[in-house]
Symmetry: D2
């Protein structure tokens, strides 16, 4: 799938709120942006951790879809994230890289920074489970 | 802080959306519930991963506040989560346990299950950074 | 497999050094012990992190074997560990619990403490990939 | 500290076995190599997971020492690792990068590949706790 197809799908699939926007996705890497919104703010004037976790997860989903095609039932098996700097009230950008694309699992890392800044604000590793042809049992979360 | 004090604080601090509700918190363990809402639904009829990540993170925050008192600037340093079963459209409940409360870091694990069911849907380990007296440099996310 | 069968297998399979000893394993939980040895000591008089990581990994392997039978090619997909207290020069004991046993993945958590002490020294979450009948592609480490 | 100073220190500090060799370390990145040895072999003819975990941990330690100077009591707070391909019986090389060097925590990622091959065999994120001047309480493992 291409970036604009993924964006169309995400808008339908993610009820409740504006999903992050896929700016690029080529099966090996992807870039997603989440627009700043005041409801992301937490005490101290920084953006919430869940905002960054959701961004990392969606960016990984977008990369999986760009790599294997339309598989809406690909689900997250595990996600780990380290928060390194407190982001200012700005858009956040996630750059994802495919580290391993197997038959049943895709492992990616995600670097998140604020728009216009170089320093990493967070780094995440995300594993997706890829549904088998015949839709068998899967471990994970949508 | 007690559960009702934490709930009052979360309502102020978490702009945008209803935060999870702290049902119990005693400094060693805490329980939080997030009410089911249709916008949590993702393809396949299950609840989104970010819903569970946000619940784990808030539950850990609530436990930290119950353990060390009002420290709104405690921030997540890292969070890892494994998704094990796809939750049905129901409330989710998170049970958090303090594994280590140090001077600068608190490490907790979080077991998430659907209301009325026993099986784990997700398991998370969350580390919070506790701000020093004099509010020095910190690594983490709010 | 039962604990003594697993121990026999581990002695053959783990060339180079004494493997941890499986003290109990019933498919749902397992307990493993690694004997204290001076080469585990690191600066500060504490036991090395890799000693605890290897213990967590072997304990999870033992639990998988006790749950699904003799599958030597089950491999670790991912492992995360938090170190919470510096262990004294004593045996370490790992208690593993099966959180999810699926067709292709097993997810377990591991609590490690020093012999005769209650406090956790480390906590780990370990995922094993279970080889399919027909030995297909797998992601992981032995 | 420079690579050869770190190697000298590791030889003293790591009793029991040959430690990995630091080939380069400049405070921002480091490269470590662990020589292949038959005792690293596990069922299936691949190298053990604990070999890679120990390599990741030591490489991160080397990078911390190169960044902050001789601080033997820097300890691992947490480590997560994803295993992506089964390494052949060859030397393993770890490339570490400093993602965040704070006053109390250093966060690094580690890419591991087999000597002479490009594909990642494992990817790890490692957090070290840096001892305060006055050697206070710390959470972690040596």
């Amino acid at each position: 799938m291409k970036a604009d197809e993924i964006n169309q799908f995400l808008k339908q699939a993610f009820s409740g709120g504006q999903p992050p926007v896929v700016e690029a996705a080529d099966g090996q890497t992807a870039r997603c942006r989440i627009a700043y919104h005041p409801h992301q703010i937490r005490p101290g004037g920084t953006l919430s951790g869940p905002t960054m976790m959701a961004l990392a997860d969606t960016a990984a989903y977008a990369l999986v879809l760009s790599a294997i095609g339309f598989q809406p039932l690909a689900v997250t098996t595990n996600l780990s994230i380290h928060f390194m700097r407190k982001p200012k009230p700005k858009d956040l950008i996630a750059d994802v890289r495919m580290m391993k694309l197997g038959k049943s699992l895709a492992v990616m890392d995600v670097a998140i920074h604020s728009d216009g800044e170089e320093d990493l604000v967070a780094h995440s590793v995300v594993t997706y489970s890829i549904p088998p042809q015949s839709h068998g049992e899967q471990t994970g979360a949508a």
